[in-house]
Amino acid sequence: MLQVLLVDDDSEFTEVACQIIEFIGHDVCVAANLKEAKEWLAQQKFDHVLLDFMLPDGSGLHLIDFINQNDLTPYITLITGHPSVKGMLTGLCGPKVSYIVKPLQREDIEATLNKSSNKPKKAKSNMPTLHFGCLVGESAPMQALYTMIERVAKTSANVMLMGESGVGKEVVANAIHTSTGATDPIVATNCGALSKELINSELFGHEKGAFTGAVARKDGVFVRAGNGTLFLDEVTEMPLDMQPNLLRVLENKRVIPVGGTREIAVNCRVVSATNREMSELAQGNILREDIYYRLAVFPINIPPLSERKEDIPLLAEVFLQQLNSENNTDFSWSDEQLNILKNNAWPGNVRELRHAIHRAFIMSDPASKTIQLPDSFISPFASKTKASSAISAGQTIEDLEKELIRVTLNKVDGNKTQAAEMLGISTKTLYNRLHAYGDFSV
C-alpha cells in the first residue's frame, strides 16, 4: 500500500480520483495548490505524488524543485493536458518522474502507481516464482498441479478441488481463473456459511419482495460470475435437500431467481472445493452422486504441505517478503530457521505456516534484521490433525521415533525420567537416543 499525495485544483476530479486510488488499495491525501502540497510533504512521508502541471499558485515544476531541495524521495507523476511535456521532463527530473496525459483512465493511475510500488522489488531478486501469479512451490506434486491447472484452464470443465484444510484451495481456484484469461471476475461463496433459507438467494439471486427483507432485486453468484469463475467453497456442507436446485442449474445452465419467473442463462465455470476425503463423500451421504459428477468433471487433489516439504523455504520466503513490503521492514531468514520450518509437521498446512510466520514477524525486534522464531509452533488444532497426518508413507522409522520422543517430552515438560516411563524405555536409552538425534529443546 502506497502513501499517495494528489495535487490538483479540480475538486471534482480529486474526489473521484481518491475513490479510485483507495479502491486500488492505496492511501491518498489531497492538496489543491502548491502551498497545501508543501504542508503535506512537511508533515508526512509519501511514496508517490500525482501532480497537476498547472496549479493556482504556480507550476507543478515548482513542487518538483521543492521535493529535490528537501531531499524527499517520492516518485512523481505529472498530470498534464499535453504530451509535449515529456520533452521538458527529459533530463530535467531523472528517472523518478513520469507523466500521464488527461483525460485519465484508471489503468493510467494503476500503471503509474505500480512504478513506485515495484521500486523495492530490487531487493526481491531472490523472490520465488509465483506460478499463475499466486502459487508457490517447485516440488514434484506442485509441478503436477500446475500441469493440471494449465490443462483444465483450456476447457470449460467444472473442477472440484480436494485437499486438507489450509492447503490453499481458493488460491488454486484463483490460479485456474487467472489461467483462463477470462475478463469476467471470479466470484467466491462459502456454502458452509449460508443458512438454509439464504442459499437459494445467494446462489440464484432474488427479485424485490421475494421474501421479508428482500428490499431490492439481487443477482446471485451464478449471474455475477458472468463468463468468469464461480468458486463454491465447502460445497459438501450444503444441505442435501438444497442440492437438487444446484444440480438443475449445473445441468441446464439457467437460473431462476427466488420469487422470479424469468430464466437467466449462466455461463460460468464452477470450481468447487471440499476438505472431505473421497471415501467420505461416497459413504457419508454428504454430496449427491449426480451433483458430484457434475461438479467434479475434473477433480484435483491439492497436496498437503507434509508431501512437499521442500517448498516450505520458498513459501516462507514469499510470506516474509510480503510482510516486509507491507510493513516497510527488511527481515530475512537464516538457513537454520528455514530448516526448523521445514522440519515442522504443519498439520494446518500453508495456512498454519503463514500464521506462524506472521506471529514470528510481529514478535521480532524491528531494529534487528533477523526474524525471531518461537520455541514451538503448537496450535490448538495441531493434535487433532496430527493423529491422521503424523504417519505417512515415505517416512523412516527413525523419523517417527524422533517425533514420538519430541511429543512425549513436550507432554511432560521435558522431564526425561517421566518421558522414558511413558515411552516404555529406560532413561539411559532415552538419553542415548537424544544424544544420537542431537537433543532438541522442549
Binding site: 476530479f13 473521484v16 475513490q19 479510485i20 493536458g81 488527461k102 485519465l104 483512465q105
Partner: protein
C-alpha cells in the same frame, strides 16, 4: 508565444478539465458495476458526467467564438 496563443491554450485547457472528469467518473461507474458497490455512487457519477458534458460544450463554444473573432 503571443497573447492569442495563450488565450487559445487556456481555452483548450479549460476543455480538458471536464473531459478528464467525465473519464474518471466513467471509471468509477465501471468499478461500481464490476464490484457490487452501492449503485447510488454510479448515479451520482452519471449526473456529474452530464454536467461535465455541459461544461465541455460551453468551452467548445468559447473556442468557436474566439476563433471567429480572430
Amino acid at each position: 508565444m503571443n497573447q492569442a496563443d495563450n488565450d487559445i491554450n487556456q481555452l483548450i485547457h479549460d476543455t480538458r478539465g471536464p473531459l478528464n472528469r467525465i473519464s474518471m467518473q466513467a471509471e468509477l461507474i465501471k468499478m461500481v458495476l464490476e464490484n457490487d458497490m452501492p449503485k447510488e455512487k454510479a448515479l451520482v457519477a452519471v449526473n456529474k458526467i452530464i454536467m461535465a458534458c455541459q461544461d465541455c460544450s460551453k468551452s467548445l463554444q468559447d473556442i468557436t467564438e474566439f476563433l471567429q473573432a480572430k
